[in-house]
């Protein structure tokens, strides 16, 4: 009997092709929308959390924990006031964790289609920590070099050997910092993370941008008078005519130097990678017990979870939307069944007059609805999966 019902349903659907296709498409779209929204929301959650899960601890100056995490994970928000390299040494010397300093105060200038990217000053350990590998060129080997994130490289069109300028911190400060013309040494492989949109440099390079390190013309007593302050017999003093280099080349690299104690040099954050769970707990404990009064240590995982919990109070709205969507879908399905029955009323009348049982008539209508629904589901599921894959790129661009 089911076989006969399938036969009749298939013939009916094929005969009323236009109607069948319209109903299937409507059903498929009605199913696809909530499925896709749900997938995208899940994807959003996973994307946000994945970055946090992979970063055990972040240390920064006292202030907003959320700002600290957003800054360290996604290179977003206003850079907090700086720690110093001494904090990095403290973490390393504790024996509890490896410490990766980050200095994140500067951005590049816009290049072609690429918006200004954050310049992440760090050490080579950062690349290993994030699993970043070189696709083209070579890693950072020299002061003034930079390595481009995959998407930034694609959008800017820059390749190894090209030059990339940092953006001035204050465009109105004509006597202030000079943009550094960095040399692109390499391009990273795509990592589907905020690292794709960033530019990486050695932390010392970012100190040069900040003005802590610099290089300049070599001066001697025989140098041009116009470059020297009046010589009172004491040490040579250069005047403002001496041009600080804005570009580090093979010729002038040796002239670059830093003043003061490296321990005092600024870092915006330190990523701590504990050796084990116990070490993590002990390190956290040190900061909680205020042994480091100027700094806090946070678990990005916790902060992001709290953030998502706050954001996903909106999930309640999502749930309401999902329930409404399900209700609409159910009503639409009921309408499809109703219309199907109405449209087939003459046919059902014929069958009734011939002697078709009520149950059989219901089976015929039900089979047709089942086929329509089945085809709609078969269309909407792959469509939702494809949308999820395509939306992944869009979501990453949207998020990061």
């Amino acid at each position: 009997m089911l076989r006969n019902a399938l036969f009749l349903a298939q013939r009916s659907l094929a005969w009323y092709r236009g109607r069948s296709i319209t109903i299937v498409l409507c059903l498929a779209i009605t199913l696809w929308v909530p499925m896709t929204v749900r997938m995208i929301v899940r994807e959003f959650e996973e994307e946000i959390q994945q970055r946090a899960w992979s970063t055990p601890l972040i240390i920064g100056t006292r202030g907003s924990r959320i700002d600290l995490v957003l800054h360290g994970l996604y290179f977003q928000s206003v850079p907090p006031s700086a720690l110093t390299m001494a904090e990095t040494s403290y973490v390393r010397d504790s024996g509890f964790a490896a410490a990766i300093p980050l200095h994140l105060r500067f951005r590049t200038q816009t290049v072609q289609r690429a918006p200004a990217a954050p310049i992440v000053g760090s050490t080579l350990e950062y690349f290993e920590f994030r699993g970043l590998t070189i696709a083209e060129g070579h890693p950072l080997t020299r002061l003034g070099d930079c390595v481009l994130g995959a998407r930034f490289a694609q959008q800017s069109g820059l390749r190894p050997g090209d030059r990339l300028l940092s953006a001035p911190q204050n465009a109105f400060n004509l006597a202030g910092d000079y943009p550094l013309n960095m040399r692109v040494s390499g391009v990273l492989n795509a990592s589907w993370s905020p690292d794709d949109d960033a530019v990486f440099a050695d932390i010392r390079t970012t100190w040069v941008i900040e003005g802590i390190g610099h290089g300049h013309q070599a001066l001697s007593a025989e140098s041009d008078d116009q470059l020297l302050e009046a010589d009172g017999g004491g040490p040579l003093r250069a005047n403002a005519s001496v041009l600080p280099y804005t570009e580090i080349t093979d010729e002038n690299e040796a002239s670059f130097h830093f003043h003061g104690n490296e321990a005092d040099y600024p870092v915006t954050e330190v990523i701590a990678v504990p050796h084990d769970r116990q070490s993590q707990t002990l390190l956290l404990g040190r900061y909680v017990s205020l042994k480091r009064p100027g700094a806090i240590c946070v678990k990005p995982q916790s902060v992001v979870s709290e953030l998502l919990a706050m954001i996903f109070r909106i999930e309640e709205l999502f749930r309401v939307a999902a329930v409404l969507s399900a209700l609409v879908t159910a009503l639409f399905l009921a309408l499809v069944i109703f219309l199907s029955v109405r449209l087939r009323a003459p046919e059902m009348r014929i069958m009734k007059r011939i002697g078709c049982a009520r149950g059989t008539a219901a089976l015929l209508v039900g089979t047709e609805v089942f086929i329509l629904l089945g085809v709609a589901v078969c269309l909407s599921l792959p469509a939702a999966s494809v949308t999820r894959i395509l939306a992944r790129d869009w979501l990453r661009q949207f998020l990061f």
């Binding site: 009997m1 005969w15 007059r353 011939i354 002697g355 009520r358």
Partner: protein
Amino acid sequence: MNASMITIRDLQFSWPVSEFNLRIPSLEIASRTSVAVTGPSGSGKTTLLDIIAGILPAGDGSVTVGNTELARLSESHRRAFRLQKIGLVFQSFELIEYLSVLDNILLPARISPAVPLSAELRDRARSLLTQVGLERHAARSVTRLSQGERQRVAICRALLTEPSLLLADEPTGNLDPESTLLIVEILLCQVREYGATLLMVSHDHSLLPHFDSAIDFGRLNSTWFVAAGGCGAA
């Protein structure tokens, strides 16, 4: 005299919210006969056929088809009885437009597990098509047939289960004279050669001589007994 195929006693039927009232004190139709039913529109001809077919409940009274008292059957049993024992032919053919000619004939088997769709049944369907001259149209859509051809397909469907009773409600109402005669001949052949009983509603008085007897609903107000070769009031 042949045994009665249809026996009606004290039948009273009326539609709700209507003045229509069908009253048949007594009617007997013998088996293996052909009976024409005539009368003015609205006199209850189609209603009578529907009651005999079990499409409508008998209401008050008794309606027996063969050995089966329809009043004792539930609606679902009447449907099953109708599908297996009675062949129905309608004025508007009542074919399913998305099925082929052969599939329309086999429709009773598709909608009832009591009529298994076997190879023998398929052979019978093809044989019926051959008898009505439509064997070359088996795979064609019924929408591509003429009116006369469609009615022939409808008759084949009615004959699929070899029913002993054929009820035809103005089967020639939409046909030209040539097709009309052809259809009537096919139906009467079932009576002559296969021993079926035929009850056919028609407004066409020119067809009456073809039948064994006729019932005029304009005059149906006493007991009627219809037998082979004639009819008359009891």
